[in-house]
Symmetry: C2
Subunit: 111 residues, 2 copies
Amino acid sequence: MNGDELVRVLATLANPHRIRVIAALARERAYVSELARTLGISRPLLQVHLRKLEAAGLVSARMEVSEDGKAMKFYEVNAFAIELTPEVLEAAERTLSTPGEGPGDGTKGSS
Amino acid sequence: MNGDELVRVLATLANPHRIRVIAALARERAYVSELARTLGISRPLLQVHLRKLEAAGLVSARMEVSEDGKAMKFYEVNAFAIELTPEVLEAAERTLSTPGEGPGDGTKGSS
DNA sequence: GGCACCTGCTAACATTTCTTTGCATGTCCG
DNA sequence: CGGACATGCAAAGAAATGTTAGCAGGTGCC
């Protein structure tokens, strides 16, 4: 994961609603409307947050059709483990894109 | 660390400038004006970011007087290690303050 | 058909965050 | 004293985020 990606993931997690979403999905996967009721927030709002979580690679979606024919989008958390220490951040900083330039990185290191 | 604190720390780290600041200080402590020149950003802007980093407990400041009598504020990174996994977030979620209520927590567990 | 459930979108407003600009203080040195 | 350093703060504009409201589509069942 490069610096830009890390910033994106951190920005995504820095929100109470999204933490609640991940917590709920960690306990049990769920579909959008159900999850909205569980968390007590509006469905459009939840969708926005789910989209961000998915864009950051923290959750995955899968369309399924229930027995009674309703199309439902199930979400579940992806396994991830990010360690935050000064050293890790120092390494991430080296792959941050500079204001003017295009995206940084280059090395497809991985994990 | 409770859920609210975690959100605050994550929000603080979710910024390229602040990652650069931590990276620079991890290599060597520095005073404000010097650091601003190193990073190529304005001093007032850097001060704002330093204040946030300090508020989140990620860096510490110490006023010192140089040999030639100039008062300088030296910053250095605090050691920290935060692990981010679905399980950790699920635990953090339980200590998030609810929209209406006052700050959550209660347990003074500490690091 | 009409109601209850599922999905998707986006325009608009409200709020927060980021950044710049400007002015205040103080020291030392020529 | 005036210039080159250091510190501090706050107002104000610009940009990004969060949230609501309202619209569209689909299925199954009484």
